[in-house]
């Protein structure tokens, strides 16, 4: 299975080689989409993770065991349907084609959350203020 992890490191765990462990011990393919560490040594990482579902479960247990919060996230953004007018401007910054509009979609905005890489550029590009940040990660 393929999913996205949002991993929050407390300051005490920022030395833990998480990505190495996920790959070496759980045989997961890890694609880091976004990672940051702040002045207090707290870190965040958004990663796409692919592997056997039982290995993914075990990996989550391992992370929790070492005091690192990990959560599945479908997407880092949410579209507010009644604000969106299907103009399509957000698609201009969406490199992963998670947001699409065109004749094939009947000129309605389509959003495929599994394609979203969490760049969050669409949030600011949307003139209708119709896209919100779901997990608090910046651009």
């Amino acid at each position: 299975m393929k999913t996205k992890f949002l991993i929050n490191f407390p300051a005490t765990q920022s030395q833990e080689p998480v990505v190495y462990k996920l790959i070496a011990d759980y045989d997961l393919r890890v694609n880091i989409l976004k990672a940051s560490i702040d002045i207090n040594l707290q870190g965040h990482m958004l990663a796409e993770v692919e592997g056997k579902s039982e290995k993914i479960s075990e990996a989550i247990l391992y992370l929790e065991g070492v005091g690192i919060e990990a959560d599945f996230v479908k997407s880092t953004i949410s579209r507010i349907e009644d604000k969106c007018v299907d103009c399509g401007l957000c698609t201009t910054v969406c490199g992963s084609k998670a947001l699409r509009i065109g004749a094939d979609t009947g000129w309605q905005l389509e959003y495929e959350d599994n394609r979203c890489v969490g760049c969050n550029l669409c949030i600011q590009a949307c003139p209708l203020q119709a896209i919100t940040n779901e997990v608090g990660l910046g651009v």
Partner: protein
Amino acid sequence: MPLLYSLKLPQLAQITNLEGAKMAKSYEEINERIRNGKAVVVTAEEIIGIVDEIGLEAAAEKVDVVTTATFGPMCSTGAFLNFGHTSPATRMEKIFLNDVEAYGGLAAVDTYIGATQESETEGYDYGGAHVICDLIDGKSVKLNAKGKGTDCYPSKKVEAEIKLDSINEAYLYNPRNCYQNYAAASNSSDKIIYTYMGPLKAKTGNVTYSTSGQLSPLLNDPLYRTIGVGTRIFIGGATGYVSWRGTQFNSAADRDENNDIPKGTGATLALIGDLKNMDTRYIKPGVFKDYGCTMYVGVGIPIPVLDTEILKSCAIKDEDIYTNVLDYSVSNGPKPVLARVSYADLKTGQIEIEGKKVKTAPITSLVRSREIADLLKQQIEEGSFELQKPIELFPTTPVGPLKDRSGEA
């Protein structure tokens, strides 16, 4: 389209052969048909298929009205408001609505609030466009105004909560809307720029365009034969009118010899409509990063099929409408043309600029434009919207000196 499928082809052929097919209808005849519930109304997209199927002459005979529409951002938007007098009266010279400044240079309790005016406290995340839409939504808006105090207006200050139904007049006024053939935008510079056409990525990284194309009002009446001063329109959910030619009106632009559409930006319309009858489904604030706020305004304009020439213009297709892609990295002087493309090209999602494939994205909502064209069609079919013949038509010759500002919103 289904309306016409009920006609049998031999009947249509007969219609086509009528005395050289020089048909002509008057506004009165069309309105009579609307009142009797017999008017045949189709959208500017539907007419394309009809003309392809039964031909221009037969379609012109059969169809009475073609509806056009657009729903895109238009900065040149605002609203006139009259608050009514308080007691004692104040001459409002400095006026704020939810901390957004409105114009204080009119009579004591009149103002004009512009869509792009930004909040003194929140910046451009909240502006005049938001105030106007909050009023339409029936929300309470905080009015703060000051005056110097005069013998006839002794009070120097007003603080009040107002609502749309508690003020005397409120009407939307667009000094400019419905640009005829607005250019698409790109950016050849080395860094991303943020514009009213959205984010434009470095090195011609994307193209944005703002038009409803073959559904757009002035592309369907390129020589302003039916859209003029006094034309009744749909605006923001209400009924309104074309009040004048819009600012930066440029009807003397070079035109495509096949379809009379200006090669660059052409005419514009000044529009008016009653805020009290509007619906924020069809008028919405827009916020463009690092640019400011603006207003998405939904406009629908009916075109009466007075003759076959008018219908021919209404049957215009995206593939036959060409526009320029301008370089928005140039702000000093006219923006250079990076490419010339059809609206059909833009709508494929990708065009070519100097051999490079570049992704395109719309800014105008085509689905909401279609919804407006359909709604207007329905209103005309039901007899609740009659056509108004313009009391003055726009010129197609120069109306005065116009500085070359191609590409300016």
